[in-house]
Symmetry: C2
Subunit: 231 residues, 2 copies
DNA sequence: CGACCATTTGATCCCCATCAACTAAAGTGG
DNA sequence: CCACTTTAGTTGATGGGGATCAAATGGTCG
């Protein structure tokens, strides 16, 4: 990607949409593009958070490992999402590991550079505040689900989240356009791969989804909405 | 509280600590103080979020009700905490109801006023970004707990959170200095009042806590840390 | 004192994690 | 191209954690 292309791409993303022409130039000029191959991490949990990333294309999963070894996937990040902004401004370690699940391209800023940008471009700060507000609401919604709902419903929510964020229409349904395992769906919904497998098998029996190795196609999205309890 | 007192008080809070003298004057001048009596709500879930609050003293609980009627307590807010900032900047409805659990005083800004303040005082934006980063990490930590830990451990975490945020030393322990029910502890840890009651009863048998109606004293805080798995 | 709320405690049941074993698909290396 | 390994997924059996149902007790307040 060259600079002109980058500008046109990131203008589409919420955090940068409202910037003036000059601000945008400043923001892009101080960024450094970077590629992350599938399977590699943009950063690792525990490492000092000194770089902020914007995903240009591809996809990442954010994995959080607790001291007892348990893991969860806190979020998936695709084009337009920021990564590393949670801890970077607090001079804290990254709270998750960001693994690319597709070959991906990102823009990177050093923590100091991004702080300067925020101070120079109030609109950028405001956009980031809005973006983070949405993240917190999303996290609270997931917390609510995890605390009160049964597994099948939680799995339905996880699948819907995947599809809404990245679903791609195919003939006879919507597919998740990147490799995803039962294990990962489990980590996104607070259950085990076994239970996810049983649930997806049952859905497949009812013609609601088509499964496959690291692959999922929704045949009847509305049925899943109903299972999720969204009516 | 008069203006001088307010200034000296809010200077102690993270979000406002770094402001210049002039910025602080601007921020305080545009705020309106307000009292909220115990049991009343500062704002209600679903209502258009047009006011941002800073808690000066007292305490609030943020309750989220889902469409199926289930509830959780997403956070407690005490002196120095902001409320309403999640949705206000996104022109969205408040995602929770903020109920005062003690008679409380707050400062209030209209959404538009606060946005102007953020644009005029980049340091304020940066502080808010830091504050929100911490909130998201906290929410993800709770999500992790809710997804992977057993009830007793989750209850231990909820109690520790209460005590760390607001614990007051008394002879022979630390107490939670505001009325709190088993029900509420349940809503903070994703379980029922029955299970909380059983767990607290067991702890009381072991001399770890002293319970009472809407009251809790930790006799052996370290034991709870161990139960929480923090070693 | 009576009404109401918070708490306790027992009994029951089922959801789902865990254990275990097997199948299938995808690399890998000669 | 085929044996071998590795990784993903399926499915059965089992047991326990904790929700749910039920009822009683104790505190508080008007």
């Amino acid at each position: 990607m060259d600079i002109v292309e980058i500008k046109s791409v990131i203008r589409r993303f919420a955090v940068f949409a409202q910037l003036s022409h000059d601000s945008m130039a400043d923001v892009v000029r101080l960024s450094r593009p970077r590629c992350v191959r599938r399977g590699r991490a943009a950063f690792d949990q525990g490492q000092q958070a000194d770089v902020i990333f914007l995903v240009l294309n591809g996809r990442f999963k954010a994995i959080q490992v607790a001291s007892d070894g348990s893991q969860i996937v806190t979020r998936l990040a695709g084009a337009g999402d920021l990564m590393g902004h949670l801890s970077a401004f607090n001079e804290a370690p990254y709270p998750v590991t960001a693994v690319a699940i597709l070959d991906s391209e990102v823009l990177a800023w050093s923590q100091r550079t991004f702080v300067d940008l925020l101070l120079r471009h109030p609109q950028l700060s405001l956009a980031l505040i809005r973006y983070m507000g949405l993240s917190i609401e999303e996290a609270h919604k997931r917390l609510h689900e995890a605390s009160t709902e049964h597994v099948e419903r939680r799995v339905a929510h996880a699948v819907l989240r995947l599809v809404r964020q990245s679903g791609r229409p195919v003939d006879g349904g919507i597919e998740i356009p990147f490799p995803i395992t039962r294990q990962e769906i489990g980590l996104m919904s607070g259950t085990t791969l076994h239970t996810v497998s049983r649930i997806l098998s049952a859905w497949e029996q009812n013609g609601i989804v088509d499964g496959g190795r690291q692959h999922l196609v929704l045949r009847d999205p509305h049925a899943i909405v109903v299972i999720a309890g969204e009516q």
